[in-house]
Symmetry: C2
Subunit: 236 residues, 2 copies
Amino acid sequence: MILLEPIARKSAESLALDRLREAILTGTLSAGARLTETALADQLATSRATIRTALHHLVAEGLAVQVPYTGWMVTSLTANDAWELVTLRASFEGLAASLAAERATPAARDALDAAFGELASSATSRKPAAATTADFAFHRAIIAAAAHERLVEHYRRVSQQISILIASSNALMSDPVLLVDQHEPIYRAIVTGNTDAAATLARAHVEDEGAKLIAHLRAAEAATIKPAPKRKEAKS
Amino acid sequence: MILLEPIARKSAESLALDRLREAILTGTLSAGARLTETALADQLATSRATIRTALHHLVAEGLAVQVPYTGWMVTSLTANDAWELVTLRASFEGLAASLAAERATPAARDALDAAFGELASSATSRKPAAATTADFAFHRAIIAAAAHERLVEHYRRVSQQISILIASSNALMSDPVLLVDQHEPIYRAIVTGNTDAAATLARAHVEDEGAKLIAHLRAAEAATIKPAPKRKEAKS
DNA sequence: TTATTGCCGATTGTCGACAATCGACGCGCA
DNA sequence: TGCGCGTCGATTGTCGACAATCGGCAATAA
């Protein structure tokens, strides 16, 4: 009897939230950009109350910050923030890999399989964007395989901020062909149920890649300290 | 010239948030309790908009949940939720202990010292409440010693939910005199800079204690499945 | 010239009112 | 009696308006 899917009931606030998150993660709204309630309300054709709710959610997700009586802005991250994010993410992925190795369901294993396959094929296709997407997807698959709702939430919060970081800095990505070599040991440890190895490898991988990102950001920070010690911010 | 401290400027929303959080963590508002905007607005003598904002913060902190068009309620946790919380907390404390052992500042070490001293003295005083407080404080000191802002936030979110759990279930706490023996190895590993041992010990301690809590909750759940399969919830 | 002060535009904080939605109760019908 | 359905109260979703606050600018005085 059930033929029709339930229609997607989305509140205005939810729509606005999705729109804003999308804009931030893709870089359309770049780091540090100001988010004025009235302007957003006009653009999205809704009221300030709706926008406000969406902005609160954005703050909860770590994508925006609020300064009382002053305004909201897209989260702007420093190299130290990147260090925090990387250490947390490494911890999460270590935990997830361990749990996944210990108790992944067959369905989760299939999903992990598929994600790894996608990673391998995207690596050979030599399309950097596709490789990056597959990379992220594989990591998410590990988290999902842990069957741990709160872990998914916390991980999401951290990884989204890392996305801002990557979108705002000129993303440096390693050669797609290396991706398989980097992830294959983790994948193998999980599917063979080697919890300790899975945790250690996953943590080490995230920390290694993170170290490159942090180094890149520190260099960028050192370079920009001189040019812009205090400059009036440009209007949109 | 600076003699006066800045006066504490607290928005109505912030006051309301503090009040509600306090009520939830102390159990005044017990798990599953409904939070109606109008009722809270009346009680706290403010408007619904203010209450709404505070409730959104509560949700972000994991202390409340929202069901669209139906209402808000204090987070109600199952034994499985407890498992999630414990695994996350163990991961956080492991990371924190490792970082604290590696890079704690002298000030942080002093704070850790003080917290451990307080734990020891409260253990001899035989006051369960004081011991529990000192226990929590010591763990928070470890997190603080990691000098990792986001870790503090994530930890706070998890530990607050555990507080709900402890407040709602009849809190079972181990003998205060055992507290020193349980925490002393962790403390020692941190101050001696043994990062690996600190991480392992901290994680193991949280998981051990957490296992007791989870077992207690599972037993309680099994016992209550029969008496209340479906009962109309009591009105306040 | 320079520090202080008052003012002004911009933005958020707070509020009350109306609309949309949900769950439950009770009526009507087979 | 049991099921389906409309209705109703309760609660949140959304909105526009007004108040509070902030940062910067300009006028002023030493």
